[in-house]
Amino acid sequence: MWRDALLVAGKDLRVEARSRVATNQVLPFAVLVLVLFAFALEPDRGVLRTAAAGLFWVAVLLATVLAVSRSAALESGDGGRDALRLSGLDPAGVFLGKAGAVAVQLVALELVLGVGVVVLYDLEPAGLGTLAVTALVATLGLAAAGTLYGALASGLRVRETLLPLLLLPVVAPVLLAATRASEAALGTGVVGIDAGEWVGLLAAFAVVYLAAGVIAFGPLLEEG
């Protein structure tokens, strides 16, 4: 299963490295969202700084929808789904591989967005260790839930509109928990919030959706 996962993750990342959709479209889109927030919320009054953690994670969530949609689209053309099924790869491995590839892209995106938030929103970086753990665990959950729902919506004619409707309510807890944990690390939120509890919630979310994906990906791939 792990070998298959590595194979699939390597394939997806190679496709991304060559097609550059993630770097040329998804990443600029996420940065654009950050800039749009600055237009909407008066930049001078420190609103951006206090809301920075939440805005950052909203931008990540929107980018996740695009990244996942792209990841699912890789197999939807040219009978890719059938090829994947015939390849003899373990479906659980395929799921973990695709989720892993999405997670790697999201982590890279979060690094760039993090720098963007510091520069554009005039934020003092603090609590980097907590932030890194939060980002990592949240990304795992986002990638797992995203890949699973991406498979649910893939190949359907209306997937572009269906995927956000399916995925965004599901990952809303990630937005909430990751924002609270980030605020605790940065010291911008309500005083006395324990980042650990929220990171624990993020970890539980990631475990549930990784397990659900490992179980459900087989039946989802098998369909005719």
């Binding site: 649910l152 209306v158 409707l165 399916l166 039946p219 369909e223």
Partner: protein, 245 residues
């Protein structure tokens, strides 16, 4: 072929639902007003019952989805029951939020608070609206049923979370309604009676919804088949005409 008219079962369910609903409304309106909440405490006759019915509905959707995914029990009926039950559940969730909001305004002083139970209920509504959207997608019925079943099993995780939210997080919403049945709790007998009658009435309304919707869903799919046959016959007739000419 499915009969256009309802069966004796659906008729009996409909009558029972109407009678119990009327009794709930009657009892609810005859409840005494309370010092703290004035008239609004009477909402106890319907609000917990609506929430209960939405839980039942999503639970049935999950069970029917499980039945569809299990090869031994796979049937078109299981898929249709899941869909019909989720539709009813969405209606009940929306009504729960609506009546809760009407109740919250005079007692909490606000239509809406971002409290764990309210937020999770809203999330539950969004999840199942997504589920219903997935069911409406034009696709092969088996593909659609399989994906809908997986989505339903993922979505149902929120239901227990929502139910116990009032205990796990400190919320403005009061504790679980059924716990009020313990002796020594603050809720008066007549209020508990009205609430339990509400549970019964909403369950019957739910059951009638599902039975009726199941019939219309069957009729819909049969109509599609008839229309397809008709179209095929017409095209064949056209081909014959073209050959003759």
């Amino acid at each position: 072929m499915t009969s256009v008219r309802g069966t004796a079962v659906s008729l009996a369910l409909g009558v029972a639902a109407l009678v119990s609903l009327a009794a709930t409304v009657g009892l609810g309106l005859s409840l005494p007003t309370t010092v703290e909440q004035d008239d609004y405490s009477r909402l106890i006759a319907i609000h917990p019952g609506l929430a209960w019915a939405s839980y039942v509905a999503f639970g049935v959707t999950a069970l029917a989805s499980l039945a569809w995914l299990w090869p031994g029990t796979r049937s078109r009926t299981a898929d249709l029951v899941a869909g019909a039950s989720a539709e009813a559940g969405v209606v009940f969730t929306a009504l729960t939020l609506l009546t809760g909001s009407i109740w919250g305004r005079p007692t909490w002083g606000t239509w809406w608070v971002w409290d764990a139970r309210l937020t999770l209920s809203a999330l539950m509504l969004a999840l199942y609206l997504g589920y219903l959207a997935l069911r409406r997608v034009p696709a092969d019925p088996d593909t659609r049923a399989r994906r809908a079943a997986v989505a339903a099993l993922l979505a149902v995780l929120v239901v227990p979370l929502n139910h116990f939210a009032v205990e796990w997080w400190r919320t403005l919403h009061q504790g679980r309604s059924l716990q009020q049945l313990d002796p020594g709790r603050s809720l008066d007998g007549i209020f508990i009676g009205a609430m339990l009658l509400g549970f019964l009435a909403m369950s019957l309304v739910y059951a009638w919804f599902v039975v009726t919707r199941l019939r219309t869903l069957r009729l819909e799919s049969e109509l599609e088949d008839v229309a397809l046959d008709l179209a095929l016959t017409e095209r064949r007739a056209e081909a014959v005409e073209a050959l003759k000419a």
